[in-house]
Subunit: 417 residues, 2 copies
């Protein structure tokens, strides 16, 4: 493959910077983060001006209001970004931890030590906050990052990375640790995915299409995630009044996110009483009902087959009546994306069976699926939510931006066959 010269240089410089960043102490990394915070404060005006330019172009290109909203750094948002950055600086540094240590019988000392991954490639949508967010999480864990944000935020990202570079130049860390891919050319994303000699991990942040593209094109391991078709199963023994609160929270609090509820499964014994209650409580929600649910309430339309495999990301909820816990589990095994699924029940044996059989990153008993989140899980920060099973599963914090190496210390040991 032919690579753009600028991209190749960015990647080579990052790999070289990674060799230096690996040796940085926690103090040096935190010092750099504080310098970045100060630099962003100092460049406040220039950043907002660049962001204003992005907003102007966005409006001229008729971007949707929600896109423009994501793009905007106005109204104190830049201050929030800076305060998030200082929060990352305050978190414990996972790097350097001795995860395991043992003296082998032959006298070799074997250690498993937590170390940075190296160079991260992060591809994301038109959200300038992600630029600072990812840069700070990467630096905190001793990683370099190549950033490729949505082209709609290019001016903002340039200004932000300019401020980051100014700070890094004054810091003990190499400036090349953070690289911004400026070309709006989509082909550079494809090129980035082939740079496996320099980049160790790809994190796509965005829709299913981007994830699929990365899976298809990348020679570098990709953290797949983001898509959540989430289920709650209401068992016959559930506390129905409190179940309503959980379902409302899971569906309505923030319907556009991946941990929001998509399908409600209801045990047949409580369906006739409970489904009308759900319909009453979730009065701004549209329902897709299976034939049995439709007999109970007319407040929705008959679900089509594809509906059970749809992530709604909006105020739509599928409802299906099931005969048993097993039927609920089978439905989830067939339709879930493995993000967040739960049971509402007062029968402990049902909770146990559900938790063992449902193979999702986060499995809930009597709680809202909305808790799937790095901050809620106490991870301090969230890099992404993984729905694949390798490396990391569910919310990823700082630790998930690290790997380990084996260190073996001997006294001129040789292996006997």
């Amino acid at each position: 493959m032919k690579f753009a010269v600028s991209l190749l240089k960015l990647a080579q410089d990052a790999k070289e910077a990674a060799n230096r960043l690996r040796l940085a102490t926690t103090d040096e990394k935190n010092q750099a983060l504080e310098l970045i915070a100060k630099s962003l404060e100092k460049e406040h005006e220039q950043i907002l001006r660049a962001n204003g330019e992005d907003l102007r172009i966005g409006r001229a290109n008729n971007l949707s209001e929600s896109l423009l909203d994501r793009l905007s750094l106005e109204g104190g948002r830049l201050d929030n970004i800076i305060s998030d950055l200082r929060h990352v600086a305050s978190l414990p540094d996972p790097v350097g931890e001795i995860i395991e240590e043992q003296k082998l019988q032959n006298g070799l000392l074997l250690q498993k030590k937590r170390v940075p991954i190296g160079v991260l490639g992060v591809i994301y949508e038109a959200r300038p906050n992600v630029t600072v967010d990812v840069a700070s999480l990467a630096l905190k864990t001793g990683n370099c990052a190549l950033l490729r944000g949505g082209k709609e935020t290019l001016n903002s990202n340039r200004a932000l990375v300019h401020a980051i570079h100014k700070a890094l130049a004054k810091s003990p860390l190499p400036k090349e640790a953070i690289g911004l891919i400026k070309s709006p050319n989509r082909s550079q994303v494809k090129q980035l995915l082939k740079l496996d000699s320099y980049v160790d991990m790809i994190i796509p942040r965005g829709g299913e299409g981007l994830h699929q593209f990365c899976r298809e094109q990348s020679l570098i391991p990709v953290i797949t995630g983001g898509m959540g078709i989430c289920h709650l199963y209401v068992d016959a023994s559930a506390d129905l009044t409190r179940a309503l609160d959980v379902i409302e929270n899971a569906k309505v609090q923030r319907p556009s996110v991946c941990n929001a509820l998509d399908t409600l499964l209801v045990h047949r014994d409580v369906a006739a009483t409970f489904i009308p209650e759900v319909v009453k409580r979730l009065n701004n929600v549209s329902f897709r009902l299976d034939s049995r649910a439709l007999k109970i309430t007319q407040a929705g339309k008959l679900a089509e087959d594809g509906d059970w495999k749809t992530e709604w990301l909006s105020l739509v909820l599928g409802i299906k009546v099931v005969d048993s816990l097993d039927e609920a589990i089978t439905h989830i095994q067939t339709n879930s994306t493995g993000h967040s699924d739960g049971i509402l029940t007062n029968t402990e044996s049902h909770a146990k069976a559900f938790v063992e059989a449902v193979d999702s990153a986060s499995v809930y008993v009597n709680a809202s699926t909305r808790f799937t989140d790095g901050a809620q899980f106490g991870l301090g920060a969230e890099v992404a939510v993984s729905t694949q099973k390798l490396h990391a599963r569910g919310p990823m914090g700082l630790k998930e931006l690290t790997t380990y190496k084996w260190i073996i210390k001997g006294d001129y040991h040789v292996r006997s066959e």
Copy 2:
């Protein structure tokens, strides 16, 4: 993509079997492994007959002696395979471990529990022992496996998997947990790599070409590994007599494997005395020397540039004189595949600097690179040696065939914004 019907069915059946296998107890899994051991004993004759057929065809096709040797189950090898299987049964089961547990401030109980990955796709060379090996490691960890061995061992693999299926049919585990891809058609390997709806992890075992093919084609996360360009750096303070033992062990004991030594770096202060000693001791080795080493000994030829990036897999050794520890580290950072690299030194600060700067899966101080191995590291078994940084790094044992899920138990908890 269009999938072969038989392959698709194998994958679908495996995914369904994974839902049942996930619930199996350690006793049930061990019971199944013992039934397989007995079944292999009972089918001993049929298996050896099938293997004889593979050998006959192999000879007719002029396979090399070393390939025929790998292929053969004669001379007690089947007995060794059965005893390895029983060893796997005796190992502790990693599945079910609660890795982390905490009560969050809001009262939610959060657990991180070790669980099987699901369905593994394993692509390997013409070695029938891998068939039983992988099947036992997969079953022990509650995983299903789709096996695609070299076409030269198809008869042997059929006979082995037939015996495994007979045993599984009598066991508590589903027979479909182990699937053999019988088509000799290479295109089925490519298809397997696209079955991301059913398969969770691809493990290629074989040469760099197979690994590259998998990285390029797979939609499923691939464990890359196997290739090791390994270095030892002889510091000026090393005990040179004992260093010779380590170098001989690393280079000569088993030159065809990935943890064998490829390049020796020697500090200039000891080069003139030490390099002739190396040449004398490693008298059956061919040397590729940099210009400074060539001035010291004529017992080799001048190394070409590509030589430093060559995994020799034979009795060839590169030798290069370096001015400093830093130069040694830089050479390794530039040329290593990140498998196994070491320093021989009696200066603790040099050892420390080397270990921190060299970013390889296994980093050695005063020991042979030959120790990079699951059994040597006390992992009980080895699935593969990973040279990538995600999920697992270095020798992979049973634990590396697992993932985790988050279990969250509440009292009808809802998230407050």
